[in-house]
């Protein structure tokens, strides 16, 4: 398959121009939208052969809000297939180049969105974050990305991967721009029953004032253990800059976080196995034809339409939910989720924000991880706890290690977006 985009960086799957209102907070701003967010009349592939020709008949709520705010949508960005990956290499449309680190992956799954901002192909971008898919590519491409509190941003029109974990989030060059975009997309939506009134009237952009005097930062040792030494060094330099501006830090211990990755993957795969059951090639998506009975044609459509990582997650999720294994995997994962959540709640009684490297590694070389699923899963150790606990987090460029971008992650309490935006604006 060849994407529309002929640029060698392979940032967009489909280039387009959707213009919004003449006036608004995003007038004259261009926005790239991840290709799992529905755009009426513009194909939305999820990076999958399954949906290569799928054209949504309606807009996602966030797309309507972009257009009402005056934005121009310039394209649908490349991504790991259905959001399942950390490199954007599982896309059926080929990998995306990292504009900030040639030869390296842009991170994932929203790799095209972060690359679009880093390469100047769009002023702003939307990604979706199920276990780190906005923050990871933001860190790897040297830009800013926010994973909002669960329930702040409507998921209506986002093609579901793991509903209980995911949120749509903004990506931008600066903290203030990311906050401005979050102001536009946040807020309750009758079409998504998990959204909250809390987001109705927000002013996140004005929080990006760099004032961290008196801010207390907790640094969980669990999120530094096992991280690349070069990443850890850049991280502490960034903490020192926050100290210079009046913040204080303390190391804290949150043992629950050591189990976040496995809990995340059990839950995400279980939800995925159920969500992706809808792709049978009858109502939309790649058809398995009409030879044989429906079990045979559905199985054929799914063999031809899904890539390896999607098949792996559907099968592992089916396994984790099957008779005899549900208590062993799924129930224990829910216990771990509750433990992670409780640990964060306890920690926020004594610190204002929690900081870590966004990714424990520097951007991978292209092609080095594609057949090693477990190694890739472990790279999500620092981002997945946030999704399990429904919390907000931001990734902000902290510096470089051997010329490669390193991101710092700042986590806040639920609906504490202003706090993490303010802290991040002092880093960048």
């Amino acid at each position: 398959m060849t994407p529309d985009d002929t640029m060698s960086q392979n940032i967009f799957i489909t280039e387009t121009e959707l213009t919004g209102e003449a006036d608004g907070p995003l007038a004259d701003r261009t926005v790239a939208v991840k290709d799992n967010i529905s755009t009426e009349g513009v194909r939305t592939t999820c990076g999958s052969a399954m949906l290569e020709e799928y054209v949504p008949p309606y807009n996602a709520t966030v797309v309507d809000r972009l257009l009402e705010a005056g934005a121009t949508i310039v394209g649908k960005t490349n991504m790991d297939e259905f959001g399942m990956g950390t490199t954007t290499e599982t896309s059926a449309f080929g990998p995306t180049e990292n504009p900030a680190a040639p030869g390296r992956v842009p991170g994932g799954s929203s790799g095209g969105s972060a690359a679009a901002v880093a390469a100047g192909e769009a002023d702003l971008a939307l990604g979706s974050d199920t276990g780190g898919s906005v923050r990871c590519p933001a860190a790897f491409c040297g830009v800013v990305g926010i994973k909002p509190t669960y329930g702040l941003v409507s998921r209506y029109g986002l093609v579901a991967y793991a509903n209980s974990l995911e949120q749509i989030g903004p990506i931008a060059d600066t903290v203030e721009d990311a906050a401005t975009l979050l102001d536009v997309i946040a807020g309750p939506d009758p079409k998504d029953g998990t959204t909250r009134e809390t987001g109705a009237e927000t002013d996140y952009a004005s929080a990006a004032d760099g004032d961290v005097d008196g801010l207390s930062i907790g640094v969980p040792t669990e999120l530094l253990d096992g991280a690349d030494d070069r990443v850890v060094e850049v991280f502490w330099d960034a903490i020192a800059r926050l100290e210079d501006r009046g913040a204080t830090y303390q190391e804290i211990s949150l043992p629950a976080l050591e189990h976040a990755v496995e809990a995340y993957y059990v839950i995400a795969m279980s939800e995925a196995s159920s969500n992706l059951a809808r792709f049978d090639g009858v109502r939309y998506g790649h058809s398995g034809g009409f030879d044989g009975n429906w079990n045979e044609t559905f199985s054929r459509a799914r063999r031809e339409g899904f890539g390896d990582e999607v098949k792996r997650r559907i099968l592992l999720g089916t396994f984790a939910l099957s008779a005899g294994y549900q208590d062993k995997y799924y129930k224990q994962a829910q216990d771990a989720r509750a433990w992670v959540k409780q640990s964060f709640d306890d920690a926020f009684a004594s610190v204002d924000v929690i900081a870590s490297p966004t990714m424990p590694v520097v951007p991978f070389e292209r092609g080095s991880t594609i057949d090693d699923p477990l190694r890739l899963y472990l790279a999500d150790a620092n981002t997945t706890p946030v999704n399990l606990a429904n919390l907000p987090a931001i990734s902000v460029p902290a510096g470089e290690a051997d010329g490669l971008p390193v991101g710092m992650q700042l986590i806040g309490p639920a609906f504490g977006e202003r706090r993490i935006i303010r802290a991040a604006s002092a880093v960048h």
């Binding site: 044609t297 699923p373 477990l374």
Partner: protein
């Protein structure tokens, strides 16, 4: 093979349940990868039981008829349709 958490035959059985056709070499490869991933998942056994506090509240709305997708729009992405209905493969 009896010590394995999952063998290629089980992978084929799960794939059958999930309606994903697999090639022979795929079930072999997935079995090896799943073995490694499932072994890692078992570290969840170290997790203590935690009291879960559900934060869920009911979200209700009036049951009023609203306009939705037109039949044409709803069928636009289907491989085949007939008389305004989706056309699927035969059941058995």
């Amino acid at each position: 093979m009896s010590d394995r958490r999952v063998d290629p035959e089980q992978v084929r059985h799960i794939a059958d349940l999930a309606r994903v056709e697999l090639d022979e070499d795929e079930s072999d490869r997935f079995a090896d990868q799943f073995e490694e991933v499932l072994e890692y998942f078992e570290t969840l056994e170290e997790v203590p039981e935690v009291e879960r506090k559900p934060e869920l509240t009911n979200v209700l709305r009036a049951d009023e008829v609203e306009t939705g997708l037109s039949q044409d729009d709803a069928l636009a992405n289907a491989a085949d349709s007939e008389d305004g209905y989706f056309k699927g493969p035969r059941v058995s």
